[in-house]
């Protein structure tokens, strides 16, 4: 069962690389923000899979919840900064 979670995590890591490409070279800032936010979501799931591999799910659930909160707040902050910039004359 451990190898199943391991390969699942590796597949998600490959998807993280795709999102990282969108975050680095994406046309426009909004695509970059969406790419970084998707990376955060995938990292959350990878953390949970690591918890399953190490048999300490209760510890990794705490960490991934904090990661989700901070990712949410960071995305809102970046979006709000752009909203402010867009209104300038």
């Amino acid at each position: 069962m451990n190898s199943f979670f391991l390969f699942q995590g590796m597949g998600l890591f490959a998807l993280v690389l795709l999102c990282l490409y969108r975050g680095a070279f994406g046309p426009g800032v909004l695509n970059r923000i969406a790419g970084i936010c998707a990376i955060g979501t995938k990292t959350l799931v990878v953390l949970l899979l690591m918890g399953f591999i190490y048999d300490r799910v209760e510890m990794f659930v705490d960490i991934s919840m904090v990661y989700a909160f901070l990712n949410f707040i960071g995305t809102i902050t970046a979006a709000k900064y752009l909203e402010r910039k867009g209104e300038l004359p």
């Binding site: 510890m59 960490i63 919840m65 904090v66 909160f69 949410f72 707040i73 809102i76 709000k80 402010r84």
Partner: protein, 158 residues
């Protein structure tokens, strides 16, 4: 950055989510000695919830919940709790932050006194870190000077 957002989705999600973030921060502070986390991490999450409130509801509404004066007061209170427990151990005739000596005034065995002492220190650290996080964000987002009326906020951005 400090203006209230017009989007009802963000306002509603933030209003629903902030109590749960704060409850989770209290959980992280309370369970710091047998799970990941502790005073600093819980304080950062607690401060992040206030930062989310300031981002979504604007500076004027956030100042009614947590003003700069209150943030300074809370940071001082947190430091007072932390250093007060340490100095209490020092006064009772032990090392600084050696909680075993607290058993004489808490009327419990030294192991329980150590557990309660580290809990008190983590509560102090959590309060202090929360207030300092919020204060730093407050200062940065207002450009260092806190306006009295908030009317000229839009002109500060270049």
């Amino acid at each position: 950055m400090t203006r209230a957002t017009d989007d009802i989705i963000i306002r509603t999600v933030a209003r629903i989510l902030i109590p749960f973030i704060q409850l989770y921060a209290l959980y992280v502070i309370m369970h710091g000695h047998h799970s990941p986390g502790g005073g600093f991490q819980g304080g950062v999450i607690l401060g992040a919830s206030f930062i989310l409130y300031l981002l979504t509801h604007g500076l004027e509404e956030a100042k009614t919940r947590m003003s700069e004066v209150k943030a300074t007061l809370f940071s001082s209170i947190g430091l007072l709790i932390f250093s007060g427990i340490g100095l209490l151990c020092l006064i009772l005739g032990s090392n600084y932050l050696d909680y075993g000596e607290l058993s004489t005034i808490l009327k419990v065995i030294p192991a329980q006194a150590r557990s309660l002492g580290i809990l008190g220190v983590e509560i102090g650290v959590g309060i202090g870190v929360m207030a300092v996080m919020f204060s730093i964000f407050f200062d940065i987002s207002t450009g260092g000077s806190i306006p009295n009326d908030g009317e000229n906020l839009g002109e500060r951005d270049e």
